[in-house]
């Protein structure tokens, strides 16, 4: 069992847990994730490790409630425990001094880009971050991102905070600035965002890394559920990724495979909501 030491609400339907998991904390590098199973009837699902405290033996996860498992997770409180947590899974993000890097996060993807930005800054890069959300209340980890970056842009789709528009807005401005070269872009967020960023940087010839989020089961390369296509080759995202060269990713296939269980997910969620409506906060 993995006890929840603290719980924080970061925004509407976005929650943060600090879990006791010392073996995982000791090994984890930025870009890696865990697979959790809440209880005996639970499914296995992945969440990025947003932060660790090796001394305390803890890991931080930040998740957006989107369906049965994440909503159920959100109903757990400090002092509760999660049945199974395994990790740190996946390849770590390749951290080097690239020069000037742009770290981009969209929605809950900000929780996943935060550890990357932090590591890039520590490796001596000049870090410019761009984080985006639909509206002001959904902007998470702004102060964390500020600390992890030399400069931070915030965008909202509705203009309620920061720059109005998509994250590609500030990115285009940075690329257009002939005095300063962008050496590398890291981007984690919803597929449409990653695709748009990939298209933008491809034209500009800037190496770009995205973190892919296909459906996973074991997370150790045993099942092949997480198949993605990169550069025409099939890869298992849980062991070959989740980081991949954005310019080679087949995003259409990713979207197609993410939808595989939509009908069942809806059924599962509605059944759970029917019983637990009052526990959702």
């Amino acid at each position: 069992m993995f006890p929840i030491l603290s719980k924080k609400i970061l925004g509407p339907n976005v929650k943060q847990f600090v879990l006791q998991a010392s073996a995982i904390a000791g090994k984890r590098k930025p870009g890696q994730f865990v697979i959790l199973r809440i209880d005996l009837n639970g499914e296995r699902f992945p969440l990025t490790i947003a932060d660790t405290d090796v001394g305390a033996g803890t890991i931080t996860i930040i998740f957006q409630e989107v369906g049965k498992s994440t909503f159920q997770l959100g109903t757990l409180a400090e002092g509760d425990a999660i049945l199974d947590v395994v990790g740190p899974l996946g390849k770590a993000t390749e951290v080097e001094n690239y020069g000037r890097v742009v770290c981009m996060g969209g929605g809950v993807g900000v929780a996943e880009i935060y550890p990357v930005a932090l590591a890039m800054k520590q490796a001596g890069n000049e870090v410019i971050s761009i984080i985006g959300a639909r509206t002001h209340s959904l902007v998470i980890l702004e102060s964390h991102m500020k600390q992890a970056s030399h400069k931070l842009y915030v965008t909202t789709d509705d203009g309620s905070y920061g720059f109005q528009g998509l994250v590609t807005g500030p990115l285009n401005d940075l690329i257009a600035d002939v005095n300063k070269k962008v050496d590398r872009v890291f981007c984690i967020g919803p597929v449409p965002m990653m695709r748009a960023v990939a298209n933008t940087t491809k034209t500009a010839g800037i190496p770009t890394i995205v973190s892919l989020n296909p459906i996973m089961v074991d997370g150790t390369g045993m099942c092949g559920a997480c198949r993605v296509k990169v550069g025409g080759e099939t890869k298992f995202a849980c062991v070959d990724g989740p980081d991949f060269d954005a310019h080679l990713v087949d995003f259409d296939l990713l979207v197609q495979r993410q939808r595989m269980y939509h009908k069942q997910e809806k059924l599962s969620w509605e059944k759970w909501k029917g019983i637990h409506e009052n526990r959702i906060s």
Binding site: L89, T220, Y261, Q264, S268
Partner: protein, 462 residues
């Protein structure tokens, strides 16, 4: 000693095929004591019992059968346990027709003795009577051994060494122990409750079982070596192969590992009572001819497939699956498409499988495995509608541990190179056995390897 010969083996009662395709309960129901005594009495107690040579772990078969015939079921069980610590499992899943029952004298003119069924009976009897053998720990040895992987190989090593007095810790990547016995072989062939009892024996022997712990990720082999006096690696052959044909990434195409993991480990046959979904359409095609293919196709049938096809590129005689599984599959209405092989899977605009294109094959000269090689017949391609495809075309070694363990030598096929007798690897103090050394094999061979490695580890540490 004149004895009346009974030609046919005692049949084992089974769930009716028309009923069992709607449930996940075990198919063969087991012998009654009377049936077991009846079958055991058929054995003529050969002076030179050739059956023993067919059992990879050398169980004293005539002796345990004699005790069974005398109604001494617990003693018979103890006799089996001298060589095989998982008899209720091996009795169910061993390919007996190729192993112990193949050389049986009775099989020359009549049906061989149903050794596996008897083994299953005595083990089930002992378990139900609460007489499972929990060996005494011989003496305490202040040395620590790490076992990586909790499949039959790992379970055997952990059990043997704990019994000899070592402090054993067993690490398992998944949330459940048992390896393929837990995530792969379905409930209707091996009930999970039986597996749980077998693993429970380890806990009672003092083995520290740590699930959710991936060696090569959560901790490295070299780190284990610093903490433990010896390490055994039994990580199995858990990397699913695909065929590299067009359409394999369509929605509705599974590896057998994923399909079976969802169905067994995650119990998705109970969805939505459990959270893990599974997709089974009306028409399901399983590609392959081994136990994995047979388990997948029979699972698909139980999950509601109207038509469940087994597509295999050779003919039935070359099928590696156990005879009993082939027989059961046929009874359950599985449609065999032999001498056919997929060349393409076609989908609709939303990316879902809709059709499979097959090519007919004929058998040519024998290949390296001694089986006749399938040769494609040009121009014989045809398609038919399908909603789910399950690839059961073999498994390779999972790279996680191999890639993170410097100095661990692999063989040409990418499995761990280990001494065939001791299981010693190129790394001092690291032993290996089971499918990670042999490639996909059998439960009893993995256990046999484990036995030998446990002996070698004991010697190494003495």
């Amino acid at each position: 000693m004149a004895k009346k010969i009974v030609h046919e083996a005692m049949a084992m009662p089974e769930q009716d095929p028309q009923e069992r395709i709607y449930n996940f309960k075990e198919v063969p129901l087991g012998y009654t004591p009377e049936m077991a005594i009846g079958e055991a009495s058929r054995c003529v107690q050969c002076k030179k019992p050739v059956c023993i040579s067919g059992c990879p772990v050398g169980i004293d078969i005539p002796e345990f059968i004699k005790l069974t015939a005398e109604g001494k079921f617990i003693e018979a069980y103890y006799k089996v346990m001298e060589k095989n610590v998982l008899p209720s499992i091996c009795g169910r899943v061993c390919p007996q027709e190729e192993q112990c029952q193949a050389p049986c004298i009775m099989g020359i003119k009549h049906e061989p003795i149903a050794i596996g069924r008897l083994e299953r009976f005595v083990a089930d009897y002992a378990r139900e009577m609460d007489k499972m053998l929990i060996p005494e720990r011989e003496r305490r040895i202040a040395k620590k051994v790490a076992v990586v992987g909790s499949g039959p190989a790992g379970i055997t090593v952990a059990g043997d060494l704990a019994q000899r007095g070592y402090n054993v810790t067993m690490f398992e990547a998944l949330h459940m122990t048992g390896g393929v016995l837990g995530y792969g072989i379905p409930e209707f062939r091996l009930p999970k409750a039986i597996l749980a009892k077998e693993v429970n024996v380890l806990t009672q022997l003092g083995v520290d079982v740590r699930t959710n712990y991936v060696i090569g990720i959560t901790e490295m082999i070299d780190e284990l070596r610093a903490e433990y006096d010896a390490v055994f690696v039994g990580t199995g052959a858990g990397l699913p192969y695909f065929m590299n044909i067009p359409g394999e990434n369509l929605n509705g195409v599974y590896s057998a590992n994923e399909f079976l993991t969802r169905a067994n480990l995650m119990k998705s046959y109970l969805f939505p009572q459990v959270d893990t979904p599974i997709h089974v359409g009306k028409n399901v095609a399983v590609i392959g001819g081994g136990n994995t293919a047979m388990d997948s196709v029979r699972t698909a049938k139980r999950l509601g497939a109207e038509k469940a096809y087994l597509i295999y590129r050779r003919s039935e005689v070359e099928m590696p699956a156990r005879n009993e599984e082939i027989h059961h599959a046929k009874q359950e209405g599985i449609i065999f498409r032999l001498l056919e092989s997929p060349v393409e899977i076609k989908g609709d605009k939303d990316g879902w499988v809709r059709e499979i294109e097959l090519q007919k094959m004929q058998l040519g000269e024998p290949d390296a495995s001694g089986r006749r090689r399938p040769v494609a017949i040009e121009g014989s391609e045809y398609s038919f509608p399908i909603d789910t495809v399950i690839m059961a075309v073999g498994q390779g070694p999972n790279p996680i541990l191999l890639n993170t363990t410097p100095g661990l030598e692999l063989n040409r096929r990418g499995f761990i190179r280990a001494d065939p007798v001791t299981g010693a690897t190129s790394k001092e103090g690291v032993f290996a056995g089971g499918d990670i050394v042999s490639g996909g094999a059998t439960v009893i061979l993995a256990m046999g390897n484990g036995r030998q490695a446990a002996g070698a580890i004991h010697e190494y540490l003495s």
